[in-house]
Symmetry: C2
Subunit: 639 residues, 2 copies
């Protein structure tokens, strides 16, 4: 089958060391020189010092609007005995004008009276007063800046002023990025068939490369054909200082990177003991670094950051910024393989006086995790992970003030939470992050003080009321505020046109109906269980009861893609995806707030956002929401 | 004369308030919407939330290389009783491949044995194992990011993955920048006559504007002609969201900005009580902000930063970064007018355990000061300034780690110091800043512990030796290290071809010889005084003895520009500027180091740099330097 199943498991440190040693030996890491026009130097770093090519000013210049005089001609002047100068004894000058050698002082215009064509002076001028000497700012051949200086607006202006026209800068390393994969397309389009994916890794790596000081040179997508990939490498190599091949780095039937590197240059490492990232490739072709990054985006990002970032900075002459780190407690247990260096993306928020790190989904294929991430937690090789509550250090990728002003909302998810997040960020400058852990997960997080608030829709089977009895039971001693966000229609989302003619939950027992359930602890699952119980239906008769999705939209999307026929979800999810909906129940969806974890301004902002017309308007437009009680405070204080 | 001498002196706070109120009232500060192609969204900020247009994956996808199966077909499998599947019961899949509905599990290839055309399975598959569900990463219509999110590499990749092709972003405000001035030219050229200046302010402001999130639209230089400037404003206004007119903001004969704003729109403020910056103009034309900035670069930079920066950020939807501030002691007295808000650019360095702020030259025409500046010290209106040693707060414009690793060299200046600065930055990553305060100034700074080191060339009139007797006298108790940098030729720099036939210092008494002296405390001035004394020459007979320049190159540049005929300076300054040189003396130029103020690494680096071949080679190539004792430690310890 052409598979070469085994790749190495080289420890990270060793892989870094081998790669760096190789690049140091061939001198690749040393910055290279080029000269650019003054108008292209902004943001670059100087290779050599930059010297002034002309003094500034390069002539004796007036420092004021006034008249140039020979100082000696004014020595007799006083308020009592003014001196009157003839027009041929003075020269009218504005600030910056040339003062010719026959003059040696300037008198500001405010101190001069014009009387009958003569200039009346009432105070003696001191020689060289109000005259800027040659080179006051910069002298010809002065070193304006040394080597390795980042050129910003002020350096640019100084160079211009000193008549510098060509600037010696460090050449930005050119990084060729070659995306490979038969399944890849350049842009999304309607009715994209299953199996096709929009290529995005090369875009991400190119943007990172430019951020780090490199120039990205992206090749078009190459299909999984060894000869074509090889051709692409051979074509890019002469134009590039470094080559990155996206995906194909593993040892599957269509993974060609390793053998191409071996044939064209030197394969240094294949397989690195990191998670994510393991099937990565390091090598050189013509003494230039080559990196084979895995196809999963989070793996690609990690491998590129670990191996390309330091060498791009070194070659660009810049200091690689060391990330701000923060001491946190990890919010939940994080097991790890002792054999790998593991990098976990986390959210970070300040809860009362400490910072909590919330591990994000560790799936390497989850691009959205990189968008959500506030930083990275490194679990070094040899460690078997962290227990919940353990201290840990997070390398932040967001400014600390943003982290410090972040609200956490762990609980049931509703589109109302997204709308709130948007309004809070837009109108109040407050960031709220939300993870869907279901209503019961929200209750647990609230009870542990791990979240500022939680969306809840927990039906009390006995009273038929929502949420309050749960708060009493699980948060009895805590000060909480319960606010209604929306009432919403729950029901069965079904295929467009309802081809299976589903009319209620009894139909879920029909064997041809593929049901998609929600995860345990989700309020929507509890609602289904309650309805099944009321009707004495045994859930083991439902095809797919154990198949779980984590949100309303995920359930609806699966049905839309014909991976299922019915699922309990809110009306809006059916409407958004143009599916049919069989209403079952209208339920209350509240936000439970722990007011002691909020600053006054944060709480004001949150309540203002909930009560805003914009919130109601946007929810209304989604359909299936009832807003008559929105903002109503159902409970305030210990329950 | 067409002058309108009087402009206001509006307090800064009031001017800011008037301007902001006006822009708030007309709604100018609110971010504006535009939609851009996905490939142009990097670095922009979202106006609306961005929603996924397609789930990712949008089909059930294999999470591994392996075979897709119907889980039920494997239930009987065990190591003892393997199940053999026919080719029509399985589908070979690679990671990411589509798993069609007839399959519901994937078995990784490592767990499959091919035996006689059949697939041997030794463990039962669990339904949905190794299958990525639809929308595992993102579900169609998921909010990927809320409004006001800065789009970086990960957001870009997520948008691509979710088939987003058009991105709703905040429009970057377009800032028209109009440079005015008859004296201005676009580029420097050979033999630029006196009075001409290379235009640089608009380049600086354009670069700042882009840094802050705006788009700069620069007009060509307009000469000082009211009608032409007016036409430029009228031409730019429809394309711009904001207009900046460079220079012409005062009340001189050729200052037209105020009257143009008055005619075309509304003049809000003319004259603001800041230093620098006073003659600034604020107004609106067609409800768009107009700022008239003064012609002096430091004034232009201050006014643009105070008034344009916050409104560009507001309109771009970004949070204006608050600068890192640092508590310092001011190194020397800083008097200020009680009537103005004064902004002083300073260098900052850490000396033992505290930070010192060294005020830079306050001349508003000194572009190079902005290059040197590490931060700004604000002396509020009402204060009469700061005494030396007073505590003060500096808003940093460089990262704190750079400041913390900065060495200070206050003393006599020599080109050797520039070469050292360059080598230290390039090869050792250490920044050294130097200000020329003369040798005696260096001694004073050393004795106060205000500098890490100082260049000295102080001749002892009695012994004929250099530096050591001064160290004994002024730094008797301090631990110092004195290292020879160079020996250098001092002499009279004269016009090319020596037209006045100057042969020695006696010729300075000739009345037609315009001498240019160095400032008091400069070693070169002391050398002249010593030589004059030895020859019993009275300095009052020298034309220009009181005319002072602050460096060798400044003296030479004045002679080059025919502002003088002779000046004492080092040979290299004559050679660099292609002038003639009459040798007078070879002197020792040493570096005096206070080792206790250095870290071990810093001191090692400095001594390594001094002893490097590169240092010697570069000094040698300048001419007039003798390097036989370079690096020699003349004194080490208390003198």
């Amino acid at each position: 089958m052409g598979r070469n199943v085994y790749i190495e498991n080289k420890p990270l440190e060793e892989a870094l060391d081998l790669f760096n040693r190789c690049l140091t030996e061939c001198g690749w890491l040393a910055p290279q020189f080029e000269e650019v026009d003054i108008m292209e130097c902004l943001g670059r770093r100087t290779f050599h010092p930059v010297y002034a090519r002309r003094s500034h000013p390069h002539y004796m210049a007036s420092a004021m609007d006034g008249i140039a005089v020979k100082a000696a001609s004014t020595y007799a002047a006083s308020e009592v005995n003014p001196v009157n100068l003839d027009p041929d004894q003075v020269l009218m000058v504005d600030t910056g004008d040339y003062v010719p050698p026959q003059f040696d002082a300037v008198i500001m215009i405010e101190d001069v009276n014009m009387i009958g064509g003569q200039y009346q002076i009432i105070r003696a001028a001191v020689p060289w007063q109000q005259i800027r000497s040659v080179g006051e700012d910069m002298v010809e051949q002065d070193m304006i800046v040394p080597s390795r200086t980042l050129i910003g607006p002020y350096e640019l202006a100084s160079f211009k002023t000193a008549s510098v026209e060509r600037v010696p800068v460090i050449k930005r390393p050119v990084v060729a990025i070659i995306p490979t994969g038969t399944e890849l397309v350049e842009r999304g389009y309607d009715d994209m068939p299953p199996g096709e994916i929009v290529e995005s890794n090369s875009r991400m790596l190119a943007a990172l490369c430019e951020q780090w000081g490199g120039v990205a040179l992206r090749h078009d997508i190459v299909i999984d054909d060894k000869e074509l990939i090889r051709q692409a490498v051979v074509e890019m190599e002469p134009q590039a200082d470094m080559i990155v091949i996206c995906s194909g780095s593993s040892a599957g039937r269509e993974d060609y990177t390793a053998s191409i590197v071996e044939e064209l240059g030197r394969l240094i490492v294949h397989g690195i003991a990191t998670r994510p990232g393991k099937p990565a490739i390091l090598g050189t072709i013509n003494r230039k670094p080559v990196i084979g990054v895995p196809g999963y985006p989070v793996s690609a990002q990690l491998i590129f950051s670990l191996f390309a970032q330091p060498i791009i900075y070194a070659r660009s002459g810049g200091e690689m910024p060391s990330p701000d780190t923060i001491q946190c407690q990890v919010a939940r247990k994080l097991p790890s393989h002792a054999g790998v260096d593991e990098y976990v993306n986390v959210n970070v928020a300040k809860i009362s006086d400490h910072f909590l790190a919330y591990p994000l989904n560790r799936g390497a294929g989850v691009t959205s995790m990189l968008v959500k991430s506030d930083g990275v937690l490194h679990i070094p090789r040899g460690s078997e992970g962290l227990d919940a509550g353990s201290p840990c250090t997070v390398a932040l990728c967001r400014p600390r003030p943003v982290i410090e002003n972040t609200l956490v909302c762990l609980g049931s998810h509703d589109l109302a939470i997204d709308v709130l997040i948007d309004i809070l960020q837009k109108d109040h400058g407050i960031r709220m992050i939300s993870t869907n852990v279901g209503s019961m997960g929200g209750i647990v997080s609230l009870s542990r003080g791990e979240t500022h608030c939680a969306g809840l829709h927990l039906l009390d089977y006995e009273s038929g009321d929502y949420n309050t009895s749960y708060l009493k039971k699980y948060l009895g001693r805590q000060k909480v505020m319960l606010v209604n966000l929306v009432n919403r229609d729950q029901g069965l989302v079904v295929q467009k046109g309802n081809p299976l003619e589903i009319t209620g939950i009894e139909d879920l027992l029909r064997p041809e109906v593929r049901y998609i359930n929600r995860q345990k602890g989700a309020g929507t699952r509890l609602l289904l269980d309650y309805l099944l119980q009321k009707k004495n239906i045994d859930n083991s008769g439902i095809n797919g009861y154990n198949r779980e999705e984590y949100s309303h939209l995920a359930v609806a999307a699966s049905i839309k893609n014909n991976a299922g026929d019915a699922g309990m979800a809110i009306y809006a999810s059916a409407r958004i995806l143009d599916l049919d909906f069989v209403p079952v129940e209208t339920e209350r969806y509240d936000l439970c707030i722990l007011p002691d974890l909020f600053t006054g301004r944060q709480l004001d902002s949150l309540l203002t956002a909930i009560n805003s017309n914009e919130f109601k308007r946007r929810m209304q437009s989604l359909g299936g929401y009832h807003l008559e009680n929105t903002g109503l405070i159902i409970q305030d204080g210990v329950g």
